[in-house]
């Protein structure tokens, strides 16, 4: 067990590799109750969220969800988030546990002058992510609500194992599945029903290896207050045709470094390792691990724009040794 953002969480239940492969081949579940949740409600909710987030909230219909980010005034990212539209004037924002206080202060300041009400509901939800090619079929046995016909990013209420949950067809593994928002007092019943149905419990270790294979960023690593999202593969989130906080500064960026995926041979890349080209430092790794599916080292990192094209050969400095590192487009593993 490790302490993470005030929660005691397991790195693994049995083995990171076995848990990882269970999610890729069958179904696994993650207790991610540490994640933060804010309600945003009111006549001005859409207008406020258009200003406070990068993606286009006007495209978000009731019962749908979108990935997004909170921009700061310097062209950087306060947090990356998922936004769920749960009503005509009601949105649920899911954010990183380590950023709850920072995001709350930031959004409260931005909300002045908007007809909007914010509620920090982080302690009002348990969150279980059920992921994998069999996840939907297994969950279907525990609910009368039709799960299979729903689309990616749909969200709706239903009962699972006799308890009301908010279903969301979202996740952080690159696999099909649902995330379940549950009243904390009902979480144990739901978890145990899923366990009895054969879903493999997975810890933080597999969550990280899965998201990295899928090419998803982790806040504090690929995205920070100092990184401009336009210099990352997630630049699609930035909708320049609308107005948002800090827009002018963000759009002025010239990307000296770009975020890329890297395949590394003969060792395991880790966060902070240097990337070199002809002996000269041209970047650094923001994340790295061993891919249980590819059985190779994979990572993400910022490299000088000149060396950021897929296929570019670099070297990763791993404990004084130079290993071949090739720039590739994430995801490393496709469903």
């Amino acid at each position: 067990m490790v302490s993470f953002a005030g929660y005691e969480m397991p790195i693994q239940y049995t083995s990171i590799t076995l848990e990882h492969l269970a999610v890729r081949s069958q179904a696994g579940m993650f207790d991610v109750s540490h994640m933060g949740e804010f309600w945003i409600r009111g006549a001005g909710a859409l207008e406020f969220l258009q200003y406070a987030t990068l993606n286009d909230v006007s495209k978000l219909k009731e019962g749908r969800a979108q990935y997004s980010m909170l921009p700061n005034a310097r062209g950087g990212v306060v947090d990356d988030i998922y936004l769920y539209r749960t009503g005509a004037q009601e949105y649920l924002m899911v954010l990183n546990a380590a950023n709850i206080e920072k995001d709350w202060l930031h959004l409260q300041r931005l909300a002045e002058g908007f007809a909007v009400e914010l509620e920090n509901a982080s302690d009002l939800f348990a969150l279980i992510a059920v992921q994998g090619p069999n996840a939907v079929a297994v969950m279907q046995k525990l609910t009368d609500t039709d799960l299979a016909s729903r689309k990616k990013n749909d969200t709706f209420m239903g009962k699972l194992a006799g308890k009301w949950v908010r279903f969301a067809r979202t996740g952080y593994t690159g696999e099909d599945g649902y995330e379940l928002f549950i009243a904390p007092e009902d979480a144990q019943v739901v978890w145990e029903a899923l366990l009895a149905a054969g879903i493999t419990p997975c810890g933080l270790g597999a969550r990280d290896t899965l998201r990295l294979e899928a090419g998803f960023p982790l806040y504090g690593h690929e995205l920070t207050d100092e990184t401009n999202p336009l210099c990352t593969p997630y630049s699609w989130v930035v909708k320049a045709q609308k107005e948002f906080f800090g827009k002018e500064v963000m759009l002025q960026v010239r990307c000296e470094r770009r975020l890329v995926g890297l395949l590394v041979e003969g060792g395991i890349p880790r966060e902070g390792y240097r990337l070199l080209r002809d002996g000269r430092e041209v970047g650094y790794l923001t994340s790295g691990t061993h891919s249980p599916v590819l059985r190779k080292g994979i990572g993400m990192g910022y490299v000088e724009a000149d060396w950021s094209e897929p296929g570019t050969r670099l070297e990763a400095e791993v404990r004084g040794k130079l290993l071949a590192a090739t720039v590739v487009e994430a995801p490393f593993v496709k469903r």
Binding site: S15, L18, H290
Partner: protein, 126 residues
């Protein structure tokens, strides 16, 4: 956790089995369990002479990289080449198939190492 009594140990979680003047070295059951799934092993060059306590190999799990120290002074004479394809042998069989390397040593030096009982006390107090 298993601590075979015929082996000698270090505080840094290596085990040693003496075969004449050759020391077979690996990491303990306790160490492999703490590391989790081992996915990569960086082994020393054979022929290299090292001092006791020198970092000579690296065992990497999904979670982390861990240095392996020479338990005794001597010459590296053989490495376990099976580990490059099957690093998981370290988890599955830490005291047999998962051995790391062999060193030619002064057999008397082995007395400087920990007994199984002493090592168990070190490991379980961590």
């Amino acid at each position: 956790m298993n601590y075979p009594s015929e082996l000698k140990y270090t505080k840094t979680h290596e085990w040693v089995r003496l075969e004449g003047d050759v020391a077979v070295v690996g990491i303990t059951d306790f160490a492999q369990d703490a590391l989790g799934d081992v996915v990569f092993v960086d082994l020393p060059q054979t022929g290299r002479t090292v001092e006791a306590g020198a970092a000579v190999a690296v065992v990497e799990s999904v979670k982390t990289a861990s240095d392996i120290y020479a338990p005794l002074s001597g010459e590296i004479i053989e490495v376990n080449s099976a580990l490059s394809d099957k690093p998981e042998l370290i988890n599955q069989s830490p005291y047999a198939e998962g051995w790391l390397f062999k060193m030619r040593v002064n057999p008397l030096d082995v007395n400087k190492l920990l007994s199984a009982a002493d090592y168990r006390a070190v490991a379980e107090n961590q």
